[in-house]
Subunit: 306 residues, 6 copies
């Protein structure tokens, strides 16, 4: 979905640094929560316990995740403690969190506020727990980990896998803790997303529900897709194997992709073909992962059909 007028109601702060931005977003979230708590008695207690009683974004997020993911055999207190410890000591993680909040807030026209994303977007919540180091880090070897990924690389694999399992139960998002995810990533609707062990997702990517970044089954090594910056992947698309989806490419809903897709092109269908043809594919100018334009070129391609 596009970046319409609706998406930018609050004025953005002038060129903030990461820490300032985190503070600004947290202040927005508290203001939104306070407004909603006042207007809606049935939500007030929830707003206070989850947001307003906390002194920082990482405390609020750790509390919320602990309550969402706990079970009768994995207590909320234990999870809260775990998340808080990791978020508190890693400013890179917090900066990725802020970028993901902005991605949802400004790309999805149905997202009314930062707090709406923090509380309700299961794609956002799953992603915070799951694996990630920024795509740049992947390219340049400067790694910045998210929670489960961090646990994975610290050889706390059983814990990372237990968290993956809980996220799959609770949010139906199945991201392997060894996968690499950039900043500013939006998992929209998110139900049914599967991301394999050696997958890499760049910055500012948008991925719809039911998308699979799966393996070929041919090897145990590097066997999952590499998604470039600014890519948009439509609902139900399946990408299999160690293929490369170029920066700014667009993958149509329901597509099956098993080959590389060049940058700024559009692949559609099952099996997928490039819009405009393999030799001279149509190139687009915008960044689809940010503009969220799902249908340009694709509906042209299907014109002859219905």
């Amino acid at each position: 979905m596009p970046t319409g007028e609706f998406c930018h109601p609050p004025p953005l702060p002038p060129a903030p640094g990461a820490e300032e931005e985190e503070k600004w977003v947290w202040a927005q979230i508290k203001a939104e929560a306070r407004r909603d708590a006042e207007a809606e008695p049935a939500l007030a207690s929830y707003m206070y316990s989850t947001i307003l009683s906390h002194s920082s974004l990482e405390r609020s997020l750790s509390f919320h995740l602990g309550n969402k993911l706990c079970s009768s055999t994995q207590l909320s207190t234990t999870l809260y403690d775990l998340f808080l410890n990791i978020f508190s000591t890693d400013s890179n993680l917090r900066s990725a969190t802020v970028a993901d909040l902005r991605a949802a807030r400004f790309r999805d026209p149905a997202c009314l506020s930062f707090s709406h994303c923090l509380l309700n977007y299961k794609g956002f919540l799953a992603c915070q727990v799951s694996c990630s180091h920024s795509y740049e880090a992947f390219l340049y070897k400067k790694k910045a980990y998210r929670v489960a990924h961090k646990l994975w690389t610290q050889s706390r694999k059983p814990l990372a896998l237990a968290l993956q399992s809980r996220i799959s139960d609770v949010f139906n998002v199945d991201i392997h803790p060894a996968a690499t995810i950039g900043k500013g990533v939006l998992f929209d609707h998110a139900t049914g997303v599967v991301v394999g062990e050696t997958a890499v997702i760049g910055n500012n990517v948008s991925i719809l529900h039911h998308v699979t970044l799966g393996g070929t089954g041919k090897s145990v090594g590097d066997r999952h897709p590499k998604i470039g910056d600014g890519v948009l992947i439509g609902a139900g698309a399946t990408i299999l194997g160690n293929v490369r989806i170029g920066d700014g490419a667009k993958i149509g809903a329901g597509s099956l992709v098993m080959k590389d897709v060049p940058p700024r092109t559009t692949a559609v269908g099952n099996p997928a073909r490039l819009v405009g043809g393999k030799e001279q594919p149509r190139m687009h100018e915008d960044v689809p992962g940010e503009s969220m334009d799902h249908t340009s070129f694709i509906s042209e391609w299907s014109d002859y059909v219905i």
Copy 2:
């Protein structure tokens, strides 16, 4: 699935009015629950707490939804109170509930009883909470709201969005509270259904699991599909944009549709094409949303394939 003999075991009451019908269905549900509680000790307590201890269908439904959707930060009592208040004061909502119970009971051969639907069909449960005003209302501007939709139009948007989020967590059905849903709608299996903000679903529609009624991303206004009366949408179909699916049309499983589909025709494939061709599409006589005939014409079309 068709309306076979299996579907009509209990004799239907002679032309009941809405209130009589509600009473009749509720009496059926209590009788079924009593029979099951007696036959199955492991279910008896559940049958009593959820159905038999309540004095009306709306109390039973409010209790069941409150328990399904509650969490450690949103208590069952608060939700029960909220649902009961809305169902109690809106007979249109209750009549839509009854129509949806009948839809599951008489269209799905695997549905053995009304109580089975009330207790176990997550598509039914999600739909009761979610948005809806009847399609007629949409056409004729006489609106009849369901719970979350009602909250939305009362400007209790944060609460409506919080409920949408819980339904997405608990049932993996993601229906925007502003969407419009008719009466007698069956969401079969329901996992992974996504219905966008400006989507409209007519009366007597049947929608299988993994179906997406999504936006194009091109605008913030009216950007989601309009589904006519009696339409059947197969598993995994994706319909994008403000397109119109005509009354009585059938959309094949796994199809990608980005264009209007004429009434009583069948669209299949990714990208979708009309069976019989764009110019002279095959027209069917029955109402697929009610007959649940998933494969007529479609298997012909794929005949040449395997």
Copy 3:
């Protein structure tokens, strides 16, 4: 995913009988759990409550399932009692459980240990509760039931349906309790799988997420697919109607299949076609349900596309 070196770290016991194998697997699971509990304080309590405090695999599994599936109106103790009673008295069920554990452990390169599967694989957990008698039994009329199937055939249908509903809520796996499932079946990722009432799944089958084995809607009788031994079904594939997928066949991701598929062939696309053509389809030598080779032939077929 293939059976690489990674898959066989612990030496296999020499030709064990069923009971010996069950003991051996249970001993492995306890050893793994003890190792993980020692290495990871945040998991130790969970490992003890779920595995290490139990005296047998069926007690551990019954406890774990009871805690996963319980709700405020269906208490864990009741479910534990129910599962334990069934598993304790049916050695065939336990032997199917062990075969399914081996399937996950040795086919999925992301599966690090038996305990990882027991605790975290929702496809495995859903399958244990759901229906099954071995495919052979189906062919030779010697039936061996799993939990919900067993309840179904004992005419405890309301309970079986209540369990199906909980599994659909908790794991988003919707398997009708009357369906028949063989041994050594792997549901990988599992989210969104739907298996209809009269479906049959053979031994050593692997099924990815979002796969539908659905009805045509044309009849109330035998109306769902029959899946042969050793079949591999890719993510998002939809198979509709009483069609036969031959032993060792492979169904590509996202395919729509409404016709029989011959043994050892590969069907791909929406609508599906046979790789190599209807007349002389390409035949493969391996057992795809075990080798987990998702892309052989399929990527060739799509070569001309991108």
Copy 4:
């Protein structure tokens, strides 16, 4: 404890009627809760869920009692519904509740606010659920019941006894649902209080912890004490049998009483004797149940001891 300056910080409204008083007290409670929620983040969610999200005192009280008394087999929603139904339809009960809130607020120097009593005083909470019709009603046969007593007289005895049991578990206050309790009664600290089936407690009585109003065991009929208006019973006192404690009498801590005690006298010791002697007991002027003067006369009597 006496009615010191501390006890009257908010100005009292000029001679309110019962309904006005209820509104005034509820307004005080909401103002206190709002002040505390703002000052104390760790309590804010609790204050909102328990007080501030409710539209009336009976809703808040029903919610609070439902959450306090629920268990895994008796759900909070069921209890909430039960209490709300009873409090909503009986203004006499609500007026007794308001009188009890005033009793705690203005007699106990440790009671800082109405909301403190509503939330934290288990004697108050137990009493609201338990039996009561006003003492006047008892004398003049115009009965005004509280929750469990009301259930008792409606022949819902098993439910009344189940509530008595939960109150005894949760608050350790064991009041038989057939007992009769007046208005403005303060159970201070309350742990261990036992009140038998045929006991009667007048208006404006104060009873400390560990007090027993027990039977003689000699009969099944009227066999428990009758406590007059304005009586004060000290900690650990035991009163056995159908004896009459006269209006304004005082029973010393730890006393054992098995005989009638005349009005405005003081009984102390085990076995109890009247201060001043049986023939010319010392008479006091104040109302000890309101002044909370535990030691006047009693310490004189024990003067010769230490």
Copy 5:
């Protein structure tokens, strides 16, 4: 309280053996629960989950205790399993349970039914978990253990102490697991009872609330009271040290006893004295632990006081 007409409504079975009696009591309990479930919707679910869904008294009791005593770190399933295992394998324990049910049912005029005792009497519930071997066993060295006592003698002391702690939290009854308790014991009201490590309680004893059977503090060996058969101990009585309370003795409410009390005599006061004097104490004919006559002789003794 005495055995009035009220106490024997259902006709007793003719001279039943232990097993027959257990069956008879269990049949009574199920009949009572069925009657109450039908009459009281708000209790039906509770009656079914706790009593009617179970196939035996020991299953019902184990379930009820598991739910009462569980916590977030000690799960109900674990406790249920533990209790069921012990009750199932020890018919002596079950026979003590039945005798205790009869004691409450026929001695306490406020006890309306066996199910009322099973569900609601915390003294009964605490006693089932706690220590016991019959007093005879104590005398004749043939020991018959209850749950915690059995754990204690099996050297599972930490578990026995953890259960003691939970019982003290939940029921406020603090019975050391090494204490010895006979059959047909009634703990009436039960709040605040404390029974020390080397205490012995005979058969058919009745003990009111707040009673302490404590140590002198002088030794670590045998340092707690020995209570004979048929003794009645009034509310709040404190008995300290390795003293012997003779068969059929009565201890008045609030008494402090630190010396032996002869059989069939009455001790009252703080410090306690014998009614009738040390030399020629009054002897009574009945068995006070069964007649529940709390005040005979005691009120005479205090006659001169008030």
Copy 6:
């Protein structure tokens, strides 16, 4: 109870400083928990979640208290965070905790281990949350606060009162947060203890269950007892008013005290008298709060009685 051989099984470390002692006690607790977890499968998960998964005594204690005191409206995570924050920043509190653990371990012959006290002694747990600054601090104006007391003095009174209320519900120990409690205090059994707002309890005091340190009701100022160092107060004793119980005094079980008691004397009875008489009371040599000798002198005094 005395310090017998049983009480000192593990050798004490040579004159440790406070921090060393805390470490030593924590090491003991972990070793005990590890031993019990290995020996007792039914406790292992509990031992790991509550003790073994934590890195320090204050984390373990905060977790345990959070789980004990949480409710559906006050979440464990919030309480854990609160307690951990206070314990982490105040070494005086931790040193009082260690002294209290030692008091239980070495004075109560029924206390088998430090972990037994930490997990199971509700008097210990209640005391850690409740008020305290050391008695010395009280005398010399150097205050060292415990949790609720600390909250009180920080003007977080509503939170302190909410905790008091939860402790009263859960443990039936009712200690006003403004009360002052020394180090090395043992509340044995603890049920029913009430300690008023202006009470002061010295170091090395032992207090049995049902003890009341109450007010006279005559004033709102300093109106509760002051208990000297090393005092022993027997079960059910009631001490009322601003009276002073001298260092090393002993108060007999069930006594009612409303006057000062001189140091090293014994007061018994209702009303209390000094053993040996007011003029020349018997003086004892030991420290009764540490020797736990409940009956010396007292049984002599009652010699003439029975």
